[in-house]
């Protein structure tokens, strides 16, 4: 009798189970292909009986399958393939376009002629169970994601509050400083007036004259200082015109190069097509010079590198949000210049205070430089982004809104 007929007879009962059942011999020739697997795989038994299973399903023709199936033909213990490690044994497309998940058990069945064994392959559809695990996983991921979003929003809120607090503190410090400076200046004017009267009353050849001169000189110096205080902390008037950072930098270059210590190299990386900004040239020059001075001081006596860059790009809300001072800026196109140094850098704690009037970590610093810089940049509706790593260096980036020239 024909071996396939014999197989059909012997295994007919397997046509009535909801499990995919396949029998192959040690040549991988398919001897039996039950109705269930016929339906799942959409492959009729006529097509596959007598042919090699491997010729239909080439993924099985790999060591990870063959080495284990081989033992079956010698009567070895059953072999399992779990859907978690191999999604399917025989690929079967489901109506929703996905592959069926299968758990497969292969066991040895004595061959008809008594020589060796056949492999009896039982394939279970476990898609629904697997799907449940999958859905659960998606649910879990979604929940985790929501929690993360909430945490982010919370952090953002905290950051805004901290920025507002710092801005308020700066504002009140500036008001206080300016107020004191004004009053102080008035008193100085009084001293100065009285000193000049004194100078007229004292005989010209008197030894007292030189003391009066000293009073006058010291008073003038003090007046100068208070004037600076007023300038730095106040919003001085801006005379704005279209200007290009590149142009300003080119003109400043000789001054910058002579200011910076000889052991420091200054590099210029200027963007060719840089949009103009609307700004007060003298004030922008002050900002640049001050940032360069700070960079120079941060590098100190070692050799180092200062890089001055210009560029323009769109800044998103998130990027602007990283500014240390709240400026309430809309996202948009900004032209910027930045001064990067290879100096000592700053830790986070220092970074929070650098704009405070009189905050300085330098022995001879007055701590007014960055206060002035900030006042000017705020007056121009721009912002400052800072990056700094202790022992590595800092980068101060000054952004002003790009001006698109109206087409003529």
């Amino acid at each position: 009798m024909d071996i396939f007929k014999l197989a059909l007879e012997k295994f007919d009962v397997l046509n009535h189970t909801p499990v995919g059942m396949v029998v192959i011999n040690s040549e991988y020739q398919v001897l039996f292909w039950n109705q269930c697997i016929e339906y799942w795989s959409n492959k009729h038994s006529n097509e596959i009986l007598g042919t090699s299973l491997l010729s239909h399903y080439s993924h099985l023709n790999t060591d990870r399958y063959l080495s284990r199936i081989e033992t079956i033909f010698e009567g070895g213990p059953p072999v399992l393939f779990s859907t978690h490690l191999h999604q399917y044994f025989i690929p079967c497309l489901l109506s929703n376009g996905q592959w069926m998940n299968q758990n497969t058990t292969i066991s040895a069945f004595p061959s008809f002629d008594g020589n060796g064994h056949y492999a009896l392959i039982a394939i279970e559809n476990v898609t629904e169970l697997t799907q449940r695990v999958f859905e659960y996983r998606q649910m879990r991921d979604k929940a985790l994601n929501e929690i993360k979003q909430r945490e982010l929003a919370e952090k953002e809120k905290e950051k805004i509050q901290a920025q507002m607090l710092r801005a308020q503190k700066l504002e009140s410090l500036s008001v206080l400083t300016r107020g004191i400076a004004h009053d102080f200046n008035n008193q100085l004017m009084g001293i100065l007036g009285n000193a000049s009267i004194l100078k007229q009353l004292v005989p010209q050849d008197s030894t007292l004259i030189k003391y009066v001169d000293k009073i006058q000189q010291a008073t003038l110096k003090s007046a100068d200082l208070t004037k600076q205080l007023i300038d730095y902390t106040g919003k001085s008037k801006i005379i704005a015109n279209f200007l290009n950072f590149n142009q300003v930098l080119k003109e400043l270059k000789p001054i910058i190069d002579s200011t910076v210590s000889p052991h420091i190299i200054v590099n210029y990386e200027l963007e060719k097509e840089l949009p103009d900004v609307k700004a007060d040239t003298a004030q922008i020059e002050k900002v640049i010079m001050h940032l360069v001075t700070n960079a120079d001081e941060a590098i100190g006596n070692q050799s180092g590198l200062i890089t001055i860059r210009t560029h323009a790009k769109h800044f998103s809300k998130e990027e602007l949000f990283n500014a240390h001072i709240e400026m309430k800026l809309q996202e948009g196109f900004f032209s910027y210049f930045e001064v990067q140094d290879t100096g000592h850098g700053m830790d986070d704690n220092t970074m929070l205070k650098i704009f405070d009037p009189f905050f300085s970590t330098r022995f001879i610093g007055r701590g007014l430089g960055l206060t002035m810089v900030l006042g000017i940049v705020q007056g121009h509706r721009g912002t400052i982004l800072i990056e700094s790593t202790p022992q590595k260096g800092s980068c101060f980036r000054v952004l002003l809104p790009s001006q698109v020239k109206k087409p003529a």
Binding site: R68, G76, L80, S82, H84, R132, Y136
Partner: protein
Amino acid sequence: MELTRIQMDALSEIINIGVGKGAAVLNKILNSHIQLRVPLVKILDSTELINELKEMGNDKLSSVNLGFKGTLYGTAQLIFSSENASELVATVTGEDIHNLSMDDISFMRSGTLSEIGNIVLNSVMGTFSNMLSLPLHFVVPGYIEDYASNLYFKMVEKNTAILLAKTQFSVEKLSIHGDIVLLFEVPSMDVLIHRIDQYFSQV
């Protein structure tokens, strides 16, 4: 029923070779070196077996078992603590199993561990039956999660003497360890001893 020192050694050697083959496959799946201890071979009566089980602790265990009959009766088992089992499944499938529901965990576990257990136990038993020329019939492997005492309840109940061969293995990178246990019922022991002697005379 007594086994001589030499018979015991031969048995541990055979088990060691089989487990070594299983470990090599496991090594490939997990991509981590597997360390094996020298197997322990003992003959126990049911009270001793209970004591042995007590040593395995009160924790829930995950066990893949492969029953066999023929010239020998018994089961081969791969046993992990539930924690180690989860860890192993998580490693093999890349799933964070700790967050799955109980039902789904046991589905994942039973699927994955059954296959891992299947690979290891087939190597052990395949070697065993080949080397001792003992043709065996194998039952379709099963997966159980239960307490140690329940896992062996049937054996204890039968009140037959039992040959226990046990070896510990650990997966170096993952600090996962488990036991491979072979339990033979003693009525079939004569055959086993005979075959061991034959094996021994060959070497």
